[in-house]
Symmetry: D3
Subunit: 340 residues, 6 copies
């Protein structure tokens, strides 16, 4: 059992039931999610010792978010509760040609005010093997960025492997600001996780001949992009998720892992989407698990893609599958026969 | 902002939840719909000044139907409330090889007793650019037909463009009766909307080499059929919806617009059906909007088909999309990527 | 109207709503099912006189199971109520690459203690044309097997046709035990219903070149397997369901009927799965109905496959379709057009 | 086990969930009910052989109504299916000072067209001990009244005891019409069931010093009213329900049985109302059961009141309690302790 | 029909279903509310021309709030949409000894940034008879207060009657700040609505011998308090709501109207609470309606209390009753008999 | 923060929604509960270090039960997973005169097979201040009793205070068996918790002049009964819950604590019941908390009764209140005013 630490914002997610539009919603399904929290939950279900750090409001909504993490096996004892609010996002589930829609209401969250002094960083990182964050955290506020830097420094001192999912959000900051900050943060990072759109938005690098909106992918161009990032930022590994959007109901899904020497492409899954949110996070969790367990490049990317394929058949932000279930998919190929 | 008036019956729609059969239903989702009302709601969401005329019962069910229209931005102030009932239809949603089923319980509705004297026709048509009705209204009762004729005459006097969706319902009248009446009404109509089955049932005209039940379509035959209708009834335009039923879960969907000089075929969409009811009505609304806004033939049919494609991904009878959303589909091709 | 008797265990089925995983379930949809009971319900909806024999607990849960049968038109008057519990099974509905999961909690059911003396066997079989059971009953307990043997002897005496669905459940008994007992029971059986996995598990016979997990089927090998079973056990007919699992969301579905002289393959249906549980049972019911009504081999298998295709578009264990609805599918090919 | 026959209209009942008003309802709970059907269901749960006669539409809604009856143990095999609709009523549940509201949409029901020739009256009445109807049936249509008269004549010929619940509905007929018809029907009736408001509306007789709206009752005046009815119409027994409306949430509930010689008043229950609809029908069923079982006057009225008290703690129109549960209330006094 | 204008913040209200605590909520019922909006909705259901002014975010959540108002008959055409968010409040419904809990998440709402220049004040007030606001608006932000002052000045100029509900919220401002600002605003106000706790918190005035927490009221002390406020601020009328909290499930409810000459106490209602939020707002609406219609003091307070009694039997923030329903309660006394 | 250990069976609880009877249930609300687990959850919400020991099945249902405990802050790390099932109980919620009903389906649970060797008893009891169990555990199986005895011996050795809630269940064992075993176990117990019915059933001791079914209590007789138990079994304290059943909807609730010297009676609460299950368990938890925190006798019983009063206003088996909420009730007296 490895110890993984993730830090970031967690939000209350509110979703109209079924395929209802916002205007039709008389009630919202409530769950909780956020890039780093989703990774933590996924790793906890893989049986790892997972610690999630954040700041939540000291009220019943903050308590409910903590209960959600505890229920999913995440160690929530390092979460600070204080002033501020829990960010909220509204999700309208798309279908066929109608895209899903997200409305963020996340400003002024408790997490965006979290200062390093509030955290028991020594306790949090003690015995940790891995630290994970996403590009959302530095985008939230200067305070969040400062706190992140303190933690990243401590990770560097302790030799803890660090992964980052670029996760560019244009509602939070400009491409310029993202480029400046993320470039600076790259020096702390061992493993970079991204999709090509993020790389293009943040670093201005993008693969040739790929039209995201149309869902066409050019695999060899991705490989080049990965090598370029490794060289530029002295990374150990870069992993890409590869999503081919056929419609809001059906997606192609795969991933690629690139290191200094090699490039590994996972098999592709055609997914009847139940809930595609958190696909990238569950991919990150699968990758972290695989690399911590010493899997080789091909095994690692295959596991990460299979895990995140399953996520997209599950309601909510988080992946609720065991290692055994991921491995069953890898071996069965996904025929979906009833398991009695 | 144009002013469009529609007049017709609105019904309470009762649907078992999810894919439950009628016999399994312990509760019914309740919404409201009807051919002309659906067109009105769609146009209101396109930002137009839309007036719906009808007669509802003077009770809480009639009030709820009015509230539904108001919520959706339709001007319901011209609706009369009085004796009679609100028609009801029960809808069982099909899946895969199991077809959807509709049970009508619409006899003796308040609307079927609506007399022209009860309506403020002058106020209703003041400043109106367009009047729309469907073949259901004249089929409901002699009174409804008489009232419709008064309104159509007034439209003719005022030079208001009139569109009609044939909408043949064999539970309401015979093909002979429909032919006789609809032929008479054609002289008031500028734009005819139909599918080929309606044209065949009502006018005995049908395209060669097309088997509806099997879902095969013959495009060139449709063109000929359109021209024939234009000539025969001195119409400005004829528009056809083109549905290819692969199963209750997946449909092909397109449309064609024919005028005296030309014929425009829209791109085809393969739709994972959420709720196919109201597809034709949202097509009509898209067409009316496009023509009022002066779009050319190809743009108009493309807009109408994209709008009605989206409708079929939305629960209920009515289309809840903005012009911007329709245009996004036209430009993106429907890859359904999340919109944050 | 024929009289068909089935006997077996019925369970309370508990299913998380929608695509929720067990861990997400705050509530379970409750219905009832069991191999033989599902056949009974299906035949009742086909308008036949159908008697289901079992033993239920003498409490409100047992009463509810009886009410479920009565609601569906099954004659439940021969069911005994006494000590013991109603078995339960938990079903998690899969999607796409995530398989459905079943957790059985069926030990010590009232039915597993049912003794022949408790049953009014004379009344039950009076005027019966057909008796059906599955391989689950003899696997439940020695008592259940003993009771079954008494009934099967009586059927033989009275010349009642007997069908058996192999339905091997590895949680209930070993392959060896199943082989021993089912081989013994074959002497009472006229029509054997199975899928190839059951035949392989129970009799060690399996078709060449077929990989269940991958969903590939080899039709000619099935024919040979059927002939071999007919010869070995002196059966009249063998029927196979042929399921091609593309994913938990999409299945291929067909079936084959083999008799001493011939072999009939039904058309294949690609099904968007709503609920695949009970697919085999509804196939059995369709076959029994067809054979009782004197349909020829091709008609019989076509009806059985069409009926069971529809089942998989319906929530719950049981098939809620009429003969007319099955025949409509057989003729329309499943285009799923709305029926008004 | 006695055989009781009831005949009347059954309606689909649509109720907003919880305490929602009609205007707030996005979905309606669906159940079935009607005065005579409610009596039948109640008696079936008391273990009696109960036959309900009616005419339902030959569609899936009619089928669902039949399934509802079968589920509840009522013999529905004598129900005719044909043209027409199933009546509907909408019920909004009140709370505290806000009264419940009922909107009827029952015109032109299949039952209102039921002719005596359509019924197997001989089979229906064979072996019957009791026939029950309400004042709603003759109010629905001349046809319904004519059919009722044929059945009542047959009851008289066969010496079957007849009970009638006055159930005056001012939406269906005038007081004058009710008086004329109900007076004529009294000659067929042995046991009359009513509340004082019905007696006042139909026969113009009412107890002194009673203000219904205010919920005040004058017991001795009821006794006089009962005696007067017995004398006037040569009845065997008259039974009154005594409801004291404190609010929509809390009611006082009792009843009184009067025969030629005596008068029996039941204990009073203060009920926290779950669903008060069908209170009178369950009272009628309790009385019929008691009288058929030969209970004395005091026992009979106590049983009827206890049974109907329990009904009002149960959702829906019908009473789902056993004789044992009624007797437990009679003995325990209603302390409501958990039964394990 | 009078024209009433109200201005204020509207929030999305999120409520766990039934009596669930926040920690148990898997979904939240969603509705909309806010002091001034609730008054507007209530008056619209009384048939008045009601305009609600506010600023909502320009997104689907803001659109849904507008749709809610339109559905309820409020003129929402003057609402501005722009940057910012819609405030949210979470409501946990209490029961018996467990109090309801409210968590506010309302900071940085679009309304708190609304500037007078954004509003069409001339159009809004044209023909208006009454303007209503609450003490929440000036507490939200300096901008909101500035805007309010512009509107109040315009009202004074036009001679529009102004009412204010004190509505002190200690989460928004201190008692000192409230006292300073509200004292200043009193010069614009004709009718003051409050409960005694607000008067005590804001003006430091409170009735003798009253213990809110214990639910004891001293009526004569209220009268003195009212007179004192009228004299001090030169008001026309002061109205108090009088709530006696027996428990979260049962409340006593009444009200008092005081003018320069007289004092009117309404009858008391003991309410089985369905949803007590918005009780004060519906009281205000009832009072405004009564005074506009020229009712005398006793009639006015009786109507206001009866209207607000009914509100508390209805789910959500807003009162969905007609004038006729309020009058029925006033005449019947609240016995809650079914209305057919 | 004290450490409290509880050990026992936990069950899946299945409840029809609202006030539906079992026969009406189309779905069951699912939660988890059991006497000792309920105590553990309550104490965890009081902020204590609470360990629950048990054995659950090694399947997704067992996992869900663990997730439930973790969500509620209980340390579930000592729970063993293995063969067997999770016991189930079905609960039908009563209303007014209709009592709640419980159907147990708990035989052959994993817990009933738990052997002492499977438990890490040293780790479990390390640092523990208190151990709690109920009379259900020894009733389940000889194995469970044996395991309990091992744990109780260890508690005695370590000087851990032991409390026991008698909780007699007549479905599990006879009064004789209970008397024999519970008498033997008394020697390990410091604090006995019971209601008078349990004391009567298990020890044949009962207070004079008390009729449970009628809801009458005789306080002084309880005091004598408590003293008698203390003397007979050398106990430190005896605590009684005092429930006065007015109906299934309204209960009186209080409690009494008796020690060698004194007797303390808590205030009485009249409760509008939301869910009365677990009332006794939350009383036990309140008492354990109070005694651990050194409260005096009157404070302790007041806290225990207030805590358990609140439980009965909360859905499910477990009490979800904080110490602060209990204290608020103790000080406010339960007027239930909204907390903003």
């Amino acid at each position: 059992m490895n110890k993984i630490v993730t830090m970031g914002e967690m939000m209350l997610r509110l979703t109209p039931q079924g395929y209802k539009r916002f205007a039709q919603a008389e009630c919202f399904d409530a769950t909780y999610g956020g890039g780093e929290a989703n990774v933590a939950v996924s790793l906890a279900h893989f049986g790892q010792n997972t610690v999630f750090c954040s700041k939540f409001p000291a009220n019943a909504i903050g308590d409910a978010a903590i209960a959600f993490l505890r229920k999913n096996g995440v160690d929530a004892s390092k979460i600070v509760q204080g002033d501020g609010r829990l960010g909220i996002y509204f999700l309208e589930k798309g279908a066929s040609q109608r895209p899903s829609k997200v409305i963020y209401d996340r400003a002024n969250s408790a997490f965006s005010t979290l200062q390093a002094e509030e955290l028991d960083i020594t306790g949090i990182l003690e015995g940790a093997d891995w630290f994970h964050f996403t590009g959302i955290t530095p985008a939230l506020s200067q305070t969040a960025l400062d706190t992140l830097l303190v933690v990243l420094s401590a990770c560097k001192d302790k030799g803890i492997t660090v992964s980052c999912d670029l996760n560019y959000r244009n509602k939070l900051w400009s491409k310029d600001a993202a480029k400046r900050t993320m470039t600076m943060l790259m020096s702390y990072i061992n493993v970079l996780i991204a999709n090509e759109e993020d790389v293009s938005d943040v670093f201005g690098i993008h693969p040739a001949n790929t039209d995201i909106e149309k869902g066409e992918l050019n695999i060899s161009a991705y490989k080049d992009m990965g090598k370029l990032l490794i060289d530029k930022f002295n990374l150990e590994k870069v992993a890409f998720t590869l999503r081919g959007s056929i419609s809001a109901s059906v997606n192609e899904w795969s991933g690629m892992l690139i290191d200094k020497d090699d490039c590994f492409l996972a098999p592709n899954y055609t997914i009847n989407i139940v809930d595609r949110v958190g696909g990238g996070d569950s991919f990150g969790a699968g990758l972290i698990y695989s690399l911590l367990k010493g899997k080789n490049g091909q095994e690692a990317i295959n596991f990460a893609v299979a895990a995140s394929c399953l996520k997209q058949t599950i309601e909510g932000d988080v992946n609720l599958v065991t290692v055994k279930e991921v491995e069953h998919l890898m071996h069965s190929g996904g025929s979906g026969r009833v398991q009695r």
